[in-house]
């Protein structure tokens, strides 16, 4: 109740008071930004009563702001607000402009809504936001930012800009280091799990690992050791190969058009499957794994680039994503190889699993080859 003490006394003397526990909230603006590659999109909601303080919107001084008083001032509103918002990627300034002006209601009143568009001429580097709207008029004003970078499923960052903290930097992508790293690991695993072409390639490579090729026929290996070594050599060669090209592509050193890459990946699956039935590739499977692994690395890279790579965390994300790919691959090996080893002597293995499996894989990959080379949709996956 003393809160009012000041209120009362004040009016008589100094005109000071303590507000009774706050009636409204103070002024905020709501800024949403989406960065995707070089392009920027967004929305900025600023309270009309706040804009009125700066731009005197109520021109006819009737204590009401009507749509006409806002509509005719759109250019000024955009100019005034956007001058007080600076965006940079790395050290390069981004551009932003208002492309559409609307109106929306928030809990504390009516807001001017600007749809924003712009570009950042670079796709790497931290995003820094310098927000200085209205602080000179309302020291308790705050900007509430929601920043999305990369694709729709990428991480959203929220930030509050008070007068004391006008410049804030965000790594494009996730928040903290460890969390971000784990996100990329998960992305890697996910990519293997949903990337049927990589899975089928590995299966085609590994099916014969429990067999030995003599001439044109396959015979089961005699011991676990030789099966293990076969698998180990194939997996290691594939891993080393795709890591090399994944790094080269992600670091922007060497890039291939994605349609070629996808087509060649499909061909690699097809050739490996055919080789299981009519051998024509080098007898040492690890060499095949290595050569084709190089092209699969480019395929992984395109996924990683699509995720939006923060330059600040480039190495981390690369390692994380690759680690995820290896984990996914290892799970497949652990499931597949023991089954293959145990059933290697059975009649069904070389006929149904190796023969039938390879024919099926060859058929699917042939479909992909056609789809990807001619850019058509044939199959449901």
């Amino acid at each position: 109740m003393m809160h009012r003490a000041i209120a009362a006394f004040v009016v008589t003397t100094l005109a000071l008071f303590a507000a009774p526990s706050v009636a409204h909230k103070a002024g905020d603006s709501y800024l949403t930004l989406q960065i995707n590659g070089e392009s920027l999109a967004g929305q900025w909601d600023v309270a009309l009563r706040d804009l009125d303080l700066a731009l005197n919107l109520d021109r006819n001084a009737n204590a009401t702001i009507d749509w006409g008083e806002v509509r005719t001032r759109h250019a000024e509103i955009a100019d005034y607000t956007l001058r007080r918002l600076e965006l940079k990627r790395g050290s390069v300034p981004c551009t932003l402009r208002a492309v559409e002006h609307l109106i929306d209601e928030h809990s504390d009143g009516t807001y001017a809504v600007m749809k924003l568009a712009g570009t950042c001429p670079t796709t790497s580097g931290q995003i820094s936001v310098n927000y200085s709207l209205l602080f000179d008029i309302d020291a308790q004003h705050r900007g509430l930012l929601k920043l999305t970078s990369g694709d729709s499923d990428s991480v959203v960052t929220s930030a509050v800009f008070p007068a004391e903290n006008r410049v804030q930097t965000f790594s494009s992508g996730a928040g903290g280091g460890a969390a971000q790293f784990l996100t990329y690991v998960a992305d890697g695993v996910k990519h293997i799990a949903i990337g049927l072409d990589h899975i089928l390639f590995l299966i085609a490579l590994l099916l014969p690992a429990v067999l030995v090729r003599t001439g044109k026929t396959w015979t089961p290996v005699t011991d676990l050791r030789s099966a293990f070594w076969n698998v180990f050599k194939v997996v290691t060669a594939f891993t080393i190969a795709h890591s090399i090209t994944l790094s080269l592509a992600a670091l922007n050193i060497l890039q291939l058009p994605s349609r070629w890459v996808e087509s060649i990946i499909a061909i690699s699956v097809l050739l490996t499957a055919i080789d299981n039935i009519w051998p024509f590739l080098p007898k040492q499977r690890w060499r095949v794994a290595f050569v084709f692994g190089l092209i699969h690395g480019f395929g992984f890279a395109s996924v990683l680039i699509d995720l939006g790579l923060p330059a600040s965390a480039l190495v981390g994300s690369l390692l994380g994503f690759n680690l995820g790919v290896e984990i996914g691959q290892l799970v497949l090996v652990i499931v597949l190889v023991p089954l293959a080893y145990l059933s290697r002597r059975s009649w069904g293995y070389s006929r149904i699993a190796l023969g039938g499996g390879s024919i099926a894989i060859a058929a699917i990959s042939l479909g992909w080859c056609i789809e990807r080379s001619f850019n058509v949709q044939l199959m449901p996956f």
């Binding site: 003490a5 209120a7 002024g27 204590a63 009401t64 749509w67 509509r71 929306d104 209601e105």
Partner: protein, 392 residues
Amino acid sequence: MCSIANANGKPYIPVSDSTPLVRLASSASSAREAQADATLRSLLKRNQNNLDVAIRVAQRFVARARSESDPRLLGQAQATLAPWWSLAEPPIPVLLLRATIRQSNHDFSNARRDLEQAVQRDSNNAQAWLTLATVQQVTADFDAATQSCKQLASLVEPLVATACMAVIDGARGRAQSAFEALDSVLATSKVSSSVNPVVRSWALTLQAELAVRLGRESAADRLFRASLAIDPADAYTLAMYADFLIDAGRARDVLSLIPNDTRADILLLRRGVAAKLVDHPESVQIASTLAQRFKASGARGDRLHLREESRFALLIKNAPEEALTLALDNWRVQKEPLDARIALEAAIAANRPKAVNDVMSWIATQQLQGEKINVLVRQVNAQIATQQRAAT
């Protein structure tokens, strides 16, 4: 794409140029006041470093923030004082304004530091002593608050000094003597015309609150009305009167006391509680408006509404656990009788009597009085006893 907080729907383009979008609060009660405001602002625009003008403008903003219940105006006052805001020893009027704004933002420790500096530099500054007493009382440092009120006695009219002490006495088991002291000063000041009506209205509200605590319902009702007769739009008095009416089972009266288009959240909350109690169809709409406002405040990182938010959670959302968490967070910041009551009610509803141990011992130490608080203390103790019996 959606904006962060509570856009009610999709952004739109209004139908016509004449569609009204915002009604601006009139910045002054009279045309003359409006003109004075405009003159001051144009003076300040010419020279932002003119201390005298800046202080006058900031004082106007602060006064309007109170009458319009709008914290945006506090931010505008702060912005006006920007050239001096960060100084360690700004001019005393800036120090007082800074303390007042900081106190409104619940930054009590910095507000107190500013005020201690102010009275050290000018021990005859009545405003500084009164504001200091307020900060000390809100944070339950009653001994220091008493000292500040005593310093005030020789500097101001008796009504202000008496009211200063009455607030502290009322919170410390001496509601009866505080009530009587105010009664006699108000009786003598009635004849003297020198007392500002706003001070009188404040003292009447204060006395009404003491009457509520002493269980004198008809006196409380009369005093609230007397205060509102002088200052009918005062949000604090309206809120306290509404609480009194709700407790007295007169929720319907609250619906006529507070208009449905009130801009003040503290009043909208009371109207919402009353509407819910009498099953008024409006209650759903009020509940969703309040929920959006609390969410928006949360998004900007404000923790200024804990008291109201806790009430909202308990009485409108029926979420006692959430209400208790909010009430205890609030208790860490401010410790007025109303804060204690809110904590106890939430704990009882959540059946977690032990969560308010601190509040209970504070009530005992301060000998906080009041019908309502006594009932709540008994209920908490009964719950503790029941839980202990169940445990053994």
